[in-house]
């Protein structure tokens, strides 16, 4: 198809030493001014979150804009949005590992970290949406003297298990991959205190061949487990809606379309974070344009799947002959009071990714960053459209009511941005943002093939050494 050769995954002739130096440089260097300023601003956002949380706990969920009939507002929109963002991390680390996509290696570590922080942000919402978070343990199955146990037939309870399993497995997967790099940090530092701290987390890893033998199998098994898990989590989230009987929610296409949407928004978030980070941290030799271009391709495909989902929802509303369904999709959404947001969603999620058909747009770092911002917005709007528009005009016009977020709602949402951003910035500073041992393994594989002169066996067109920049 293409006449030009596929660009390499690792630029320049790299050795184990040069990769260790370049990938650990950001951790060992003194914090840059830009990083400090960013952390300062993000800390303000975190404080804003704390303030909104105090208000919420003091006054109750009445400080939110939720009303009747719009019982789910920013809380569930933001929960679904953050959980969706997390999915790219698992997809990159697990699914692409099973498919042996070598380009995942440069971005998996940061994407997995992003997953963890996104899950934390997501969990904040249902935790406090219960109204009395100090009773949240009632959701767990335990021998209660209240004489009532959890209702296992409810998707909301499935969510408790799905999201907590997802968070735990993501953490384990991330940590197992991190252990060899923690050992590298431990041995590379000159500072005794730093060596001790990294040493505790490295558990005494010494790179033993016997240990690698177990590590490889364990890592692959975790990837195999995470792959169906990533599909199940957003399917279960979509059941929260699909199992109900509300027009706009009650659709069998929800699970696949939610999963595609999750991957779509997750990749947009990876681009949003990694485009500035690779420049700032000088990681252009391992996170190349080819990596970014591949992510744009994933966004194009998942964006089309999501749009197909929208189309199918509308088709079924018409084809079912249900008056309520038809009214929701063709009156309330298209011409109702929230119509501008609905059309903006179409523009962001169907329109913007179409630019990725063109190689020039896929390889333009500036454009993909702007497009990713639009996609993040579009996927947030999707959840707004599904939740608020479906709820605000229910079956009885006497019940209709508009939904407006309050100041506390907005503060809390921006506050989760602060939590997410500061956690990510801290991660970039204290841990290697790129999986060093995995990059070295890839580099070794590339150089070894070149060394032994197996031209036919170039890795995915990665004919190395690439001969400089």
């Amino acid at each position: 198809m293409s006449s030009e050769p596929t660009p390499p995954l690792i630029l320049g002739k790299q050795t184990d030493e040069s990769l260790t130096q370049s990938l650990l440089a950001f951790v060992w260097d003194k914090p840059a001014d830009g990083w400090k300023k960013l952390m300062g601003v993000l800390t303000l956002f975190v404080l804003m979150f704390v303030a909104s949380l105090v208000a919420l706990l003091y006054k109750g969920t009445g400080v939110w804009g939720n009303n009747s009939p719009v019982g789910w507002g920013f809380d569930i929109i933001n929960f679904v949005w953050w959980i969706g963002i997390g999915h790219a991390g698992t997809l990159i680390s697990a699914v692409l590992l099973l498919f042996q996509q070598k380009w995942r290696t440069s971005i998996n570590r940061a994407a997995e970290a992003m997953t963890l922080f996104a899950v934390v942000c997501a969990l904040i919402y249902p935790t406090f949406h219960t109204g009395r978070p100090w009773f949240d343990w009632w959701m767990l199955p335990y021998p209660s003297t209240l004489g009532i146990g959890p209702q296992f037939k409810s998707p909301l309870l499935w969510d408790v298990f799905a999201v907590s399993t997802y968070g735990t497995i993501s953490l384990l997967f991330w940590y197992v991959g991190l252990i060899p790099d923690l050992a590298a940090l431990r041995d590379h530092t000159k500072n005794r205190v730093t060596a001790t701290i990294y040493g505790i987390f490295a558990l005494g890893w010494r790179g033993s061949g016997k240990h690698w033998n177990h590590w490889k199998v364990g890592y692959l098994l975790l990837a195999g487990l995470s792959t169906p898990l990533v599909l199940s989590v957003h399917s279960v989230v979509s059941f929260d809606f699909a199992v109900s009987h509300l027009p706009g929610w009650h659709a069998t296409i929800f699970p696949p379309y939610f999963v595609a949407g999750a991957v779509f928004s997750g990749f947009a978030m990876v681009v949003t974070l990694m485009v500035p980070a690779r420049k700032f941290m000088k990681l252009e030799h391992v996170i190349t344009i080819r990596h970014l271009e591949n992510m744009c391709k994933v966004m194009l495909v998942t964006g089309l799947i999501v749009s197909y989902g929208y189309g199918m929802e509308h088709f079924m509303a018409w084809y079912s002959g249900s008056e309520d369904e038809f009214t929701l999709f063709f009156e309330t959404r298209a011409r109702g009071p929230y119509a501008p947001w609905y059309w903006l969603m179409w523009f962001c999620n169907l329109g913007i990714p179409q630019t990725f058909w063109f190689k020039r747009m896929r390889t333009s770092v500036v454009w993909m960053w702007i497009a990713a911002a639009f996609i993040n917005l579009g996927m947030w709007l999707e959840r707004f459209v599904i939740i608020v528009i479906s709820l605000h005009r229910d079956f009885l016009p006497a019940n209709w009511s508009m939904y407006y977020p309050t100041v506390i709602d907005v503060m809390m949402f921006l506050g989760t941005w602060g939590i997410f951003g500061s956690a990510f910035a801290l991660f970039l500073k204290v841990l290697p943002a790129v999986a060093i041992s995995e990059i070295k393994e890839l580099n070794h594989e590339i150089n070894h093939h070149a060394h032994h002169g197996e031209q036919g066996h170039s890795i995915e067109g990665n004919v190395a050494p690439a001969g400089g920049h």
Binding site: D16, K153, L157, N213
Partner: protein
């Protein structure tokens, strides 16, 4: 085990220049039955299992057992809460839905299967297969080892029980082209 109070083991360490040298030398040492072998690399190198003569990791069996426990346990848990325990009043009749309803038990069963499989993989790796946490290990006594093993080195270790064989193994490692060859004495309480 002998009656000696202290059981001294000797670790002969050597570093090779590249992965090919490490793999071929390890294979040679294994065929010569030089002693208990291990290699130390910054990342998994293809062929290392063959060179060391390792069998496939048994962590798969642990994962299977963990997953099975999770799945069976989850189903039992749901059955207990929604069907069996009428005595405590847990089996609540909501809209006359069947108390034992297989389709709705699937999501929680799947999630707990994955959770227990994952926890048992990582737990067994750390505690059983790796024997961690173990921050102090004889190989860390070599400064040259600590300097390169986790970043770029290609190390091999031969562990011996008898002091008589140490010099022979050291000479053999040097003959194979190893650098930074050192011997570490590890006195364990028997």
């Amino acid at each position: 085990m002998s009656a000696a109070a202290v059981n001294t083991r000797y670790w002969v360490l050597g570093e090779f220049n590249d992965s090919d040298a490490l793999l071929s030398s390890t294979t040679t040492l294994r065929h010569e039955k030089a002693g208990e072998l291990d290699t130390y690399t910054a990342y998994p190198v293809p062929g290392i299992e063959e060179a060391l003569g390792l069998a496939r990791s048994k962590v798969t069996y642990v994962a299977f057992a963990g997953g099975l426990t999770g799945a069976v346990g989850a189903w039992a848990l749901q059955l207990y809460f929604n069907y069996l325990d009428t005595w405590h009043g847990y089996a609540v009749n909501i809209a006359n839905r069947p108390p034992h309803s297989p389709p709705v038990y699937v999501p929680v069963t799947f999630e707990l299967m994955v959770l227990l499989a994952g926890l048992s993989i990582v737990g067994s790796l750390i505690v059983y297969f790796w024997g961690f946490p173990r921050p102090h290990h004889p190989v860390f006594e070599s400064e040259a080892f600590v300097k390169t093993a986790s970043t770029s080195g290609w190390w091999v270790s031969v562990t011996l029980d008898a002091h008589e064989k140490v010099e022979a193994v050291r000479a053999r490692l040097e003959a194979l082209g190893a650098k930074n060859v050192s011997v570490i004495e590890d006195a364990e309480e028997a």
